[in-house]
C-alpha cells in the first residue's frame, strides 16, 4: 500500500456518523463543569501522607500520589448527562468509542490547586452566573473545594512556595517583608507573565514507545534499569516510573471492568457487543503493545488522560499522530479489518474526547485573555527523519475529521515542505481553511527545521518536530521546551525607555527599572536604541529570574513521573524531566507587541530624529494626551507613506524588525535555564495582545490608549495595503531568530462565487510566503480567518446565531462567541485581504462594532 492511496483526498463522501453527530451536538450544548475529583483525591492523599509543607517532594512521592489518584478515579465509560447553558442537566444520547474522560464530567474543568486553582475561590458561589464563560459547579462541590481542598493549599501552591523561596533567598525571612521585585512586576501584569505559576505543560509526549512496547514494557525496562542503577535517586526514579505506569494500567483495567459490568446490565445485543469490545480494548491497552488502529488510539487516549492528571491542561500537545499511528492504520486497512468510515468515526470520537475539558480561568483571565481552550495541538504532514515526504492516508483522514468536527480542540497544525510534499496536499490544506474558516495552521518545514537546527537540535530531531500549544515547534517526545515560560510585553520596554524607567500604568514617580535618560537627552536615534536595549535587557533579566525561581520551585515539589515515562531521555538518564531528563531542555519566551514596537521605533526614527517634525518630549506629551488635539501628528504617524511601517517592504521598518528580533534573541540567548537548556524566542500572543493592550496607553505608532496590540508577528492592522509586501516583510526575518514559533494572522475575504479561483490564489499566497528568498528560509507559519467582516459584526450582536463560529486568535483556535469584546474587536479590525486583487479591503479603524 502506498502512503497515499486515497482517490479523493478530500474524502468528500465521509460524513459525521449518527453517533458522532449526537456527541457533537451534546458537546456544543454543554457548559463546562468544575471537577472536584482530582483535587479531592490529590488533597486527601497529600494530607494523609504528610506531603503538605514538605520542602521537597521526590518523583517517587509524586508517582505514588498519581497512582493513588488513577486507581481511585471513578471509571466513567460513558457520560449519560451533560449540563446545558440553563445549568440544567440534559441527556447525552450516544456513547463514545473511547472510555474514560479527562475529568469526571462530560465537559469538565480540571482543577489544579497546586497551581492557580485557588484563584477561583472567591468566585465559587457565583461562578455559574458569571458574565463570561460560566462554569457549572454543584453546591456540594463548593463545600468540597472551600472546606476540604483549598485550605490545604494556602501555603503550598507553586506560586506561594516560589514567593517564600525568593523572600528567603533575599532576606532570610519568608514573610513579613516586601515581596521580591520580580513577583511585584508579575502582579502588575503589564510587564511580563510567566506561565510556571500555572503549569509547565507545553510539550509533546512520545507515544511511539508505548504503542510499540506497552506500559508493561516501560515498567520492565524501568525495573531492569533500577536494578543496575548506582545512585539512590536514580533507583527511586525508576521505581517512580513503574509506580506511575501501574497507576495508568489500573485505570484502564477499571474502565474495562466497568464496561463489562454495563454490558451485563443491557439486553440490547448491539450495545452489549459494543461494551464488550470496549472492555477488551481497555484490558489490552495501554498495558500491552497496540495491535490495531483502535487499540493505538485508545493507548493514546488513556495515556493522555493520565498526563492531564499530572500536568495542567495548558498547551499539552499530541504531536504527529498521523506518523505514530500510521502503521497500525495501514495494517488494519490492508487486512480488511478497518474501513475508512470506521477510521473516521474513531478519529471524530477521539477529537471530541480530546476536547472534553477547558482550563480553569478566573473572571479576570476571561476578561483579559479569555476564550482559550486547552490548546492541544496535533501536527500532520511534513517530512520524516530522513527528509522524505511523510504525508500519508492517515494525514488526510485527520484533516477530514477536523473539517467535519470544527472543534476548538484539538488544534490542527499542518506541516508543508515545498518540493517534497505534494502540491495537492497544500491545496487540500487551503481548501479546509476555506471550509472551516480557521484551520489548520500551516507551517513551513524548511524554515522551522532551519530554526531548530540553529538552536542545536540535530537534523533528525528537527525534522521530527511537532507543534506545541499554539505554534511552537519542538521535536516530538524529546523537547521539554516550556514554550510559554516568559510572555514579555515588548511595548513596556518601549514605555520604560520613553519614560526613563517609569511606566504610565504604575504611575509617575515610581521607578520601575533604571534611569536610561530623559526623553530630551537623546541626541540621536542610536542613543535612543541604546537606552531601549538597556531597558530590554533589564526586563529580560527580571522575567528570566522569576522563571528560574519558579523552575527551581518545580524541582522542589513538582516532578512529573508520568510525563517523564512517556518521553525520550528520562529513562536513559535516570532523571525526571524537571531535572533536565529530556534530550532537549530549552525554555521559551514569546514577545507581545512586536509590530507595534517596530512601527513605534520607525516613527521615532523618522518623525523625531530624521525629519525633526516633533521633539521627543513633545511626542510624549501627545502620547499622554492620547493624541487628543494632535490630529495632524496622528495622521502622519498612521500614514505608511509618511512613516515607515513593518509589512510594506520598507527597508527602514523591516531593518528595525530584524534588529529587534536579533537583539531579543541575543538577550535571551545569554541565559541558561535551571534544566541546563537555553531560551528560545518566539512571536505568538494568544489573546495577550488584547489583554496587554487594554492596560497600555498610547504608543508612537499612532495606537491610542487601551487599543489592542497586534497579534503575533503580524504587521499592524490597517497600514499594510499589499498582501504580497506584507508577506515578504514577515518572511524576510531569519527563522533562526524565531525558534519558539511565530503566529502570522491573515484574514481573507471569502469569495464563494469564485471559489476555485480563490483557492488558486490562496495556495499561491502560501507558496509565495514559504518560498525562500535568496539566503533565507521563507516564512515560518501562517494562519487564517476566512469569514466575512459582516459575519463577525453580526456574531458580536447575535452570538446565539454563531455557536460554532471558529476563529484563529494568535496561535490557537477559539469560538468567536467565547472571546472577550476587545479580542472580538481585534479580529474584526485585522487587515482583510481580497485574494483576487491582493489588496487590503477598505479598512475603517472605528472600534465601534463591539
Amino acid at each position: 500500500m502506498r502512503q497515499v492511496s486515497l482517490k479523493d483526498l478530500a474524502l468528500s463522501d465521509q460524513k459525521r456518523s449518527a453517533r458522532v453527530e449526537a456527541l457533537r451536538e451534546a458537546y456544543f450544548r454543554a457548559v463546562p463543569e468544575v471537577c472536584c475529583e482530582r483535587p479531592r483525591l490529590v488533597t486527601g492523599y497529600s494530607r494523609d501522607k504528610g506531603l503538605f509543607g514538605k520542602p521537597v517532594l521526590s518523583p517517587l512521592d509524586k508517582a505514588r500520589l498519581y497512582r493513588h489518584v488513577l486507581e481511585n478515579r471513578q471509571p466513567v465509560v460513558a457520560h449519560d448527562y451533560g449540563v446545558g447553558r440553563d445549568m440544567q442537566p440534559f441527556q447525552v444520547k450516544a456513547r463514545s468509542l473511547f472510555a474514560g474522560s479527562t475529568t469526571s464530567h462530560f465537559k469538565g474543568v480540571p482543577m489544579f490547586p497546586e497551581y492557580m486553582g485557588l484563584a477561583i475561590w472567591p468566585e465559587l458561589l457565583n461562578i455559574k452566573q458569571r458574565a463570561s464563560n460560566p462554569y457549572f459547579l454543584a453546591d456540594d462541590d463548593v463545600a468540597v473545594l472551600n472546606e476540604e481542598v483549598f485550605p490545604y493549599w494556602l501555603g503550598d501552591s507553586i506560586i506561594e512556595r516560589c514567593r517564600t523561596r525568593m523572600n528567603k533567598e533575599r532576606t532570610g525571612e519568608p514573610i513579613g517583608s516586601h515581596d521580591a521585585p520580580e513577583m511585584v512586576l508579575l502582579e502588575y501584569l503589564v510587564f511580563f507573565l510567566t506561565s510556571k505559576g500555572n503549569c509547565i505543560s507545553h510539550t509533546i509526549p512520545d507515544f511511539s514507545k508505548v504503542l510499540r512496547v506497552g506500559l508493561r514494557g516501560i515498567i520492565e525496562e524501568a525495573q531492569q534499569r533500577g536494578r543496575n542503577a548506582e545512585e539512590p535517586e536514580q533507583r527511586d526514579f525508576y521505581t517512580a516510573i513503574a509506580e506511575a505506569m501501574e497507576g495508568i494500567v489500573s485505570f484502564s483495567r477499571n474502565l474495562a471492568r466497568e464496561a463489562r459490568r454495563l454490558a451485563g446490565l443491557t439486553s440490547d445485543a448491539a450495545e452489549k457487543a459494543e461494551l464488550l469490545t470496549l472492555a477488551d480494548v481497555n484490558e489490552r491497552v495501554p498495558e500491552y503493545p497496540a495491535r490495531s488502529f483502535r487499540e493505538g488510539l485508545t493507548t493514546v487516549w488513556v495515556c493522555w488522560t493520565a498526563i492531564h492528571l499530572e500536568n495542567p491542561d495548558v498547551g499539552l500537545s499530541l504531536g504527529r499522530l498521523d506518523q505514530v499511528l500510521y502503521d497500525l492504520y495501514r495494517h488494519d486497512v490492508e487486512a480488511g479489518a478497518l474501513s475508512i468510515d470506521q477510521a473516521i468515526e474513531l478519529l471524530c470520537c477521539l477529537w471530541l474526547k480530546i476536547g472534553d475539558h477547558v482550563p480553569t480561568v478566573p473572571a479576570t483571565g476571561e476578561q483579559l485573555f479569555g476564550g482559550t481552550g486547552s490548546n492541544q495541538a496535533i501536527t500532520v504532514g511534513g517530512v520524516d527523519a530522513e527528509g522524505r515526504d511523510a504525508v500519508n492516508d492517515l494525514t488526510y483522514l485527520m484533516i477530514r475529521a477536523t473539517e467535519l468536527m470544527m472543534l476548538r480542540d484539538p488544534n490542527l497544525n499542518a506541516r508543508y515542505f515545498s518540493g517534497v510534499n505534494p502540491p495537492a496536499y497544500l491545496r487540500r490544506l487551503c481548501d479546509v481553511n476555506l471550509n472551516t474558516g480557521a484551520t489548520p495552521a500551516l507551517h513551513n518545514d524548511r524554515a522551522v527545521i532551519a530554526a531548530l537546527t540553529a538552536k542545536g537540535d540535530t537534523i533528525e530531531q528537527a525534522r521530527d518536530y511537532g507543534i506545541t500549544g499554539c505554534v511552537e515547534p519542538g521535536s516530538n517526545g524529546r523537547f521539554y521546551g516550556a514554550t510559554a515560560a516568559v510572555l514579555l510585553n515588548l511595548t513596556s520596554v518601549l514605555e520604560l525607555t520613553l519614560y526613563n524607567g517609569e511606566h504610565r500604568h504604575t504611575g509617575p514617580g515610581v521607578l520601575i527599572s533604571e534611569r536610561t535618560g530623559d526623553a530630551a537627552s537623546f541626541a540621536s536615534f542610536d542613543a535612543f536604541k541604546t537606552a531601549f536595549v538597556r531597558q530590554a535587557s533589564w526586563m529580560v533579566d527580571r522575567a528570566t529570574t522569576l522563571n528560574e525561581a519558579l523552575g527551581r520551585t518545580h524541582q522542589d515539589v513538582y516532578p512529573t513521573p508520568i510525563l517523564s515515562s512517556l518521553f525520550e531521555g528520562p529513562m536513559e538518564k535516570g532523571k525526571d524531566l524537571i531535572f533536565g531528563g529530556a534530550s532537549i531542555n530549552s525554555s521559551g519566551a514569546s514577545i507581545i507587541g512586536f509590530a507595534d514596537v517596530v512601527d513605534s521605533l520607525a516613527a521615532i526614527q523618522k518623525v523625531v530624529f530624521e525629519d525633526k517634525a516633533i521633539a521627543l518630549p513633545a511626542l510624549i506629551q501627545a502620547l499622554n494626551a492620547n493624541f487628543v488635539g494632535q490630529d495632524v501628528l496622528l495622521a502622519r504617524l498612521c500614514n505608511p507613506d509618511k512613516t515607515p511601517k513593518y509589512g510594506n517592504e520598507q527597508p527602514a521598518a523591516d531593518s528595525l524588525a530584524r534588529w529587534l528580533a536579533t537583539t531579543l534573541d541575543g538577550l535571551f540567548a545569554r541565559k541558561t535555564n535551571y534544566r541546563g537548556g537555553r531560551y528560545r524566542v518566539g512571536y505568538w500572543t494568544m489573546t495577550n495582545h488584547a489583554g496587554f493592550g487594554r492596560l497600555s496607553r498610547a504608543t508612537p505608532n499612532g495606537r491610542r490608549d487601551g487599543e489592542n496590540f497586534t497579534s503575533g508577528m503580524t504587521p499592524v492592522s490597517g497600514v499594510t495595503p499589499s498582501l504580497t509586501k506584507a508577506l515578504h516583510s514577515v518572511a524576510s526575518l531569519p527563522s533562526a531568530l524565531l525558534a519558539n514559533g511565530v503566529a502570522v494572522n491573515l484574514k481573507y475575504t471569502p469569495d464563494n462565487a469564485h471559489r476555485d479561483k480563490m483557492l488558486d490564489n490562496f495556495v499561491a499566497s502560501v507558496e509565495g510566503y514559504f518560498d525562500p528568498a535568496p539566503g533565507g528560509q521563507g516564512g515560518m507559519e501562517i494562519q487564517f480567518n476566512v469569514t466575512t467582516h459582516d459575519t463577525f459584526v453580526d456574531a458580536v450582536k447575535n452570538p446565539q446565531k454563531y455557536p460554532e463560529l471558529l476563529v484563529r486568535v494568535s496561535g490557537y483556535t477559539a469560538y468567536f462567541k467565547d472571546l472577550n469584546p476587545q479580542m472580538q474587536q481585534e479580529i474584526i479590525d485585522r487587515t482583510e485581504y481580497d485574494l483576487g486583487t491582493g489588496r487590503a479591503v477598505e479598512f475603517s479603524r472605528t472600534g465601534s462594532s463591539v
Partner: protein, 161 residues
C-alpha cells in the same frame, strides 16, 4: 466584645435558626447594605470586618470557614489614613483597629471604595482591581482568595445584594 459575650453568642448560635440570627444582626446588615451601595463608603472596612466577626459568632454555617484556618490580614490605604486588620486562629476572628505589620497578606488600597470593588466586584473578581492599580497586595495572594470567598459567603447568607 467581652469574652463572656463572645461565648454566649457562640453558644446561642447552636440553637438559633439563621433567620433569627439575621434579625439580631439587623443593624449590621443595614450598614453593610449601605456600604456596598456606596453610601457608607468611608466605613466600609470597619463595617465589613465587624459584620464578619459577628456573623462568625451567630451563623453556624458561616463558621465552617474558620475550621482549621489561621491567617493574619492587614488592610490599609497608601497614605495610612485607614488601617485595620483581622486575625483568624483557633476558630475565632479578631478584628484589629490598627496596623499590625506581622501579616500573611497586606492589602493596600487607594480608598475604601477601591477596597469595596476589590472584594465585591460583579464577578467576585479580585484580580481586576489589581490590574487597574487601585489595589496592591503584598504577601500570600491565596489568603485574599480565601477572604474573597468569605466576604461573598457573608453577603449571601445575610441576604445583602
Amino acid at each position: 466584645m467581652t469574652r463572656v459575650k463572645h461565648f454566649l453568642f457562640k453558644l446561642l448560635s447552636w440553637f438559633l435558626p439563621d433567620r433569627i440570627a439575621r434579625r439580631l444582626m439587623r443593624k449590621e446588615i443595614e450598614d453593610l447594605q449601605r456600604a456596598l451601595e456606596g453610601t457608607l463608603t468611608d466605613k466600609f472596612l470597619e463595617i465589613l470586618l465587624g459584620g464578619m466577626g459577628l456573623a462568625f459568632l451567630l451563623l453556624r454555617g458561616f463558621r465552617r470557614n474558620l475550621a482549621g484556618f489561621s491567617g493574619r490580614y492587614l488592610f490599609r490605604t497608601a497614605d495610612g489614613t485607614v488601617a485595620a486588620g483581622a486575625r483568624f486562629a483557633s476558630g475565632h476572628m479578631h478584628v484589629l483597629h490598627e496596623a499590625d505589620n506581622a501579616y500573611d497578606v497586606a492589602v493596600t488600597f487607594k480608598d475604601p471604595a477601591a477596597l469595596r470593588k476589590f472584594l465585591f466586584s460583579k464577578d467576585q473578581d479580585i484580580l481586576a482591581s489589581i490590574l487597574v492599580n487601585e489595589v496592591s497586595v503584598d504577601g500570600n495572594l491565596n489568603y485574599i482568595y480565601k477572604f474573597g470567598f468569605m466576604a461573598r459567603d457573608l453577603v449571601n447568607r445575610l441576604g445583602v445584594a
